[in-house]
């Protein structure tokens, strides 16, 4: 390609992907084209040199070899003891994944990448075990034969005529950090076999005859070499795309159709090869028809396996719902910009008569501009129709009665017409109408078809000469009968078609509406709990299952919320056991689905799917499916769509929370800065007075007379008292504002609080009349004593400072329902209404002089408000009659327990 300069974003992406790779372990595959080329030997050899270089190397699992040189090479390493699993009476040795993770070496050797684990291991496939080792940062060496690669499976099969069952998906091979080809000449290999270095004698003979023919080996070797070259090529391109920031796709888009046919697997693999060869995007489409539900179990299982295969090969799965498969495919192809379609050709002998056009022909007809690649089917013929349309003998009584009823009605109308001598043709049309109605109203084709036949017979019996016999005189009548039969058959089948199409459309609409509803509901959900609830509800509606929702809080997976589909039948306790929770935790840490119907921990009771956010898993969803009812394809794709919605909702909520926190923090900082500024400002004046007065006394002490000295000292003393009160207030602010909004409270008697407050009020209290009126001696409140005392001090001080000498200040405490009310009333000038609203704001002083004379700071009342609010009460100000002000606050009454 052109020598474009890499974009900065591209470079960044490359570096970050490299970095993330560095946290992962490195996988090295020793790759060979047949058994016996020496892969395990090469692996052990490499491990020895690594060990000599100082690496911590451990043997995870080595296949027991009879080859003596390999066995001797395996000495000298620490090894992880095998896990013994009993299976049908035999004890099997399996790789112990948990022991390996615990041991946590730098490098571990695990033979046979394609191995399938016995039941009881966490993963079904060994390559999943190795994936977990790599995620944990452990480097792995492993071995693999070419025939185990998924995409090459049928090619190898066609050469060797042996189908290999244990397969490794291609992405595992391609993602490996290093692949080392262990290569020897086929002749040398055959020699080794003969020398019994590989297998024992009778095994060797068999191997030679079938697998190890020279031609086979040569072909396999070529495939292996080509596959490695392919991997190298792909690596070059992927690094190029990382740097250039654009995905390297041509405009090609390959589509493959999924079906339940056994040959579909080959078609999918071929399509995957096309996609990688053309560098095209790859989609697998499944067209769900009304008959899909009627597939028998084997077919359904095959369909699911084909789906899994397509996914493994990197296809995006799409589902559409409709009656006409060819039409749906062509519509999807048009809408998604598909350039090439890959399909299989069924080998069914087409009928000569009543030959329906097969799928390929229909597709070419509806989308003539599409390239269609047909993969021939070498398998025995398979007719899905036979399996699907098992004439469901759905004989239910209402439909039967309906049929009989309508036919009877037509007959009666016919007789009516006949009696009035209308045209014969009209009676026929009535019967045809009847057949139409029957086909529409009944649930199975059989009623429509049988009523077609019956109507002809009835017509013949009742209305054709000779009447009341099944004979006909007129030679024209057979033709009439034939035409009538055809008309009614066509009518009935067309009506049924229309009905099923309407049903299909309804199902489609229902599903779409669930998705739309989900989107709407989740958008409105603001609380995390309501997100959980609504998500579970919608999922449950869609899948018709109960749902387990595991939320994530503080980077830990929480216990699940259970949404029961039927509240009368809650989920049995075993579905929310510790073991099930452990599976969900595994999903959370490994970002992959697990549970029943997957390859990981398939013994679990539910299927667990991760809700993946950008960097972390946001939640885990558990779907308790019993073995028989696995998820259908269309359910899977809709589920995918829903999980997207849930991801968005949760991420939006998290972002909101973060934003709120940030805002709160900023607000707090602002307040703090304001407070400090105001304090510094307000401190200056009293400090000036104190230091000034003291310095005068020091320097001119003897020159000043007694009264003046006394006055100066009094000033100093008063200012210092004022400062003390300010400090108390500031400390009170910090106690509330400490981040923890919970204050420490004790039960206290209101009378004690008031007495304490009065001890600390301003010295000038003697200039006023202060009275206390307590309506009940045992008024008790649950408070932080110092804070409430400070509140009262502030309010009383305010009254003292802002009212003229001689005024009366009354502290009145009484009970009102569950509240204690404390009101401090003065008979001074009063506070104008406009000030009343703002008087509790910080830094607000009445008459709002920013001057220094009224050393308000304005902190006092706003602090009182904070304190009272923190206790769950309210503070207020109102006018006193006839003049003055009343400040009041409420506190929750604490019931007094008199224990005698």
């Amino acid at each position: 390609m052109s020598e474009e300069r890499p974009t900065p974003d591209g470079l960044l992406k490359m570096i970050s992907s490299q970095e993330s790779k560095s946290k992962r372990g490195k996988l090295k595959i020793f790759f060979g084209y047949a058994a016996g080329v020496g892969k395990t030997y090469a692996m052990l050899d490499a491990a020895h040199s690594d060990q000599k270089a100082g690496e911590d190397v451990v043997l995870g699992y080595i296949e027991p070899h009879s080859r003596p040189d390999t066995v001797s090479l395996a000495q000298g390493f620490e090894d992880i003891p095998v896990k013994k699993i009993e299976y049908r009476g035999i004890v099997l040795n399996e790789f112990d994944l948990d022991a390996a993770l615990k041991r946590n070496p730098e490098l571990i050797l695990v033979d046979e990448l394609a191995h399938t684990n016995a039941a009881g291991c966490r993963h079904v496939k060994r390559y999943d075990d190795i994936e977990e080792l790599l995620s944990a940062g452990i480097n792995v060496y492993t071995t693999l034969n070419v025939q185990h690669l998924e995409s090459l499976n049928d090619i190898v099969a066609s050469i060797t005529h042996v189908t290999v069952k244990e397969r490794v998906p291609d992405f595992v091979f391609d993602k490996a950090t290093q692949v080392e080809l262990v290569d020897i000449e086929p002749d040398v290999l055959i020699e080794r076999l003969n020398a019994k270095k590989i297998y024992k004698e009778n095994q060797a003979k068999r191997a030679l005859n079938h697998f190890f023919t020279r031609d086979n080996l040569v072909a396999l070797r070529e495939i292996a070499l080509r596959r490695i070259a392919d991997k190298v090529n792909r690596e070059v391109e992927s690094s190029r795309t990382e740097v250039h920031d654009t995905p390297y796709y041509t405009s090609e888009h390959i589509l493959v159709c999924l079906s339940s046919s056994p040959s579909n697997a080959k078609v999918i693999r071929t399509a995957a090869r096309f996609a990688s060869a053309f560098h095209a995007s790859f989609t697998a489409l499944f067209v769900e028809t009304p008959h899909s539900r009627e597939l028998n179990d084997n077919n359904r299982k095959r369909l699911r396996e084909n789906l899994k295969l397509a996914e493994q090969l990197g296809a995006k799965i799409a589902t559409v719902y409709g009656d006409d498969v060819a039409y749906q495919i062509s519509e999807y192809a048009k809408a998604s910009g598909v350039s090439k379609i890959v399909m299989g050709r069924s080998n069914n002998k087409s009928r000569i008569f009543l030959r329906k056009p097969n799928l390929v022909e229909k597709l070419t007809a509806s989308a003539p501009n599409l390239d269609v690649y047909i993969i021939p089917d070498t398998q025995p013929s398979y007719n899905p129709e036979k399996f699907k349309n098992k004439f469901k003998w759905n004989l239910n009584l209402p439909d039967f009665l309906k049929t009989i009823g309508i036919l009877t009605l037509c007959t009666l109308i016919g007789i009516l017409f006949y009696t009035f001598r209308s045209f014969q043709i009209n009676i026929i049309t009535i019967f045809i109408l009847g057949v139409l109605v029957i086909s529409n109203q009944t649930s199975s084709k059989i009623y429509g078809l049988s009523s077609s036949v019956l109507s002809v017979l009835i017509y013949n019996y009742f209305f054709i000469e000779p009447r009341f016999t099944l004979g006909a005189y007129d030679p024209d009548y057979p033709v009439t009968f034939l035409v009538m039969l055809c008309a009614s058959l066509i009518t009935s089948s067309l009506t049924m078609r229309v009905k099923s199409q309407a049903k299909a459309a309804a199902v489609n609409a229902h599903r779409t509406s669930i998705l739309l509803e989900t989107s709407r509901k989740l958008q409105r959900a603001n609380e995390f709990n309501s997100i959980i609830e609504k998500s579970s509800q919608q999922l449950s509606k869609l899948l018709n299952h109960s749902i387990l929702f595991f939320p994530v809080k503080d980077a830990e997976l929480q216990k699940p919320w259970i949404y029961n589909l039927d509240p009368a039948n809650p989920l049995p306790a075993e579905y929310s056991s510790e073991e099930e929770y452990a599976v969900a935790v595994w999903v959370y840490h490994n970002r992959k689905s697990a549970g029943i119907s997957t390859d990981t921990l398939p013994g679990a009771k539910s299927l667990y799917l991760p809700v993946k956010g950008k960097d972390t898993v946001l939640a885990v969803i558990g779907i308790p499916i019993s073995d028989g009812n696995q998820l259908e394809i269309f359910e899977r794709s809709l589920l995918g769509g829903m999980i997207y919605e849930i991801t968005f909702a949760i991420e939006k909520y998290n972002l909101n929370e973060q934003q709120n926190q940030a805002l709160m923090k900023a607000e707090k900082e602002r307040l703090r800065a304001n407070l400090l500024r105001a304090i510094s400002h307000d401190l200056r004046t009293p400090l000036t007075s104190i230091s000034g007065n003291a310095s005068i006394l020091l320097s001119n002490g003897t020159d000043i007379d007694q009264t003046d000295t006394h006055k100066l000292l009094e000033n100093i003393y008063e200012d210092s008292l004022w400062l003390i009160n300010l400090v108390e207030n500031i400390l009170a602010v910090t106690r509330i504002d400490d981040g923890r909004l919970g204050i420490q409270t004790q039960p206290e008697l209101v009378q004690d609080l008031i007495s304490e407050a009065l001890l600390h009020t301003d010295r000038r209290r003697s200039e006023h009349q202060i009275e206390t009126l307590l309506e009940n001696d045992l008024l008790m409140v649950q408070v932080d004593a110092h804070l409430i005392v400070q509140t009262m001090i502030n309010i009383v001080n305010n009254a003292i400072v802002y009212t003229p000498v001689g005024s009366r200040i009354l502290i009145h405490a009484f009970r009102q329902g569950p509240w204690v009310i404390v009101e401090i009333a003065d008979n001074g000038k009063g506070i104008p209404d406009k000030d009343k609203k703002q008087i509790f704001d910080m830094f607000y002083t009445a008459n709002n002089e920013i001057g220094d004379s009224r050393r308000g700071l304005g902190l006092g009342l706003s602090l009182c408000k904070s304190i009272v609010n923190a206790h769950g009460g309210k503070i207020y100000v109102k006018d006193n009659q006839p003049n003055g002000t009343v400040f009041g606050f409420t506190l929750r009454l604490e019931e007094v327990h008199h224990g005698g």
Partner: protein
């Protein structure tokens, strides 16, 4: 008291120490010792056996609590703690560890002198009377332990069993500030019944019964957030 009372002042801040010494010197009834660290305080307390100790809790070398505990192993003399923190926890802990009274900085000189007077009275009371006497007298308040009778100014007061227990506890510790917890654990030993609101409720009812004017009590002094104290009434009014 012809002898001057020996007061040990433990305070690391020079200015505050100066304030206290000047104040006490002015009243001419005290001899003063000073220490600025906990270690030297303990040594002086051991060697000179002062009558009253004024202890600052914020000492640089050790926790004031340890000083109290050490001194209390041999001496029962009054200890007044001085604390700068506005939270009550350290004062409560000090009182529970054996201190008798507390002062919060900033304190006024009057407060200081008043506290010291209380401490002196307690000291004299402790010296004179045998604690196990059957009879308690404090100003107008008289308690006859053997007859379980309480009277104020000659009038018999009817107290409930709990109130009686309370007043006896205060009397036995006259002059000392008792924390809520201390009172709870002595009067309501059963933890199932113990509820901190009980202390306040019963103190209020007791006060109503024995004080002439409950809003300005003379016998029982409330220390909000800390506890209560029975004041030693001086026969000669100062």
């Amino acid at each position: 008291m012809a002898d001057k009372i020996l007061v040990l002042i433990v305070e690391d801040d020079k200015a505050v120490r100066n304030l206290i010494t000047t104040t006490l010197n002015a009243s001419r009834s005290y001899t003063l010792l000073t220490a600025s660290t906990g270690e030297s305080a303990i040594m002086l307390a051991a060697s000179k056996n002062p009558d009253i100790i004024i202890l600052d809790l914020g000492l640089p070398d050790m926790d004031g609590m340890d000083v109290i505990k050490k001194v209390r192993t041999w001496s029962n003399r009054p200890i007044i703690v001085v604390s700068a923190r506005s939270e009550d926890k350290d004062k409560i802990d000090a009182l529970d560890a054996g201190a008798d009274d507390y002062l919060t900085k900033p304190f006024s000189v009057e407060e200081l002198l008043a506290r010291i007077r209380v401490a002196v009275r307690k000291m004299n009371y402790d010296n004179r009377l045998n604690k196990d006497e059957a009879y308690f007298e404090n100003g107008a308040l008289k308690i006859d332990y053997s007859a379980a009778l309480v009277s104020v100014e000659g009038q018999e007061i009817h107290l409930t069993p709990i109130e009686y227990k309370l007043v006896c506890l205060l009397a036995k510790n006259v002059g000392k500030v008792l924390t809520h917890n201390y009172i709870l654990s002595h009067v309501w030993p059963n933890p199932a019944e113990a509820d901190s609101s009980l202390v306040r409720v019963f103190m209020a009812t007791l006060r109503k019964k024995i004080e002439k004017d409950p809003s300005s009590p003379i016998f029982i002094q409330t220390h909000i957030g800390i506890g209560y104290r029975m004041n030693r009434i001086q026969e000669e009014n100062k």
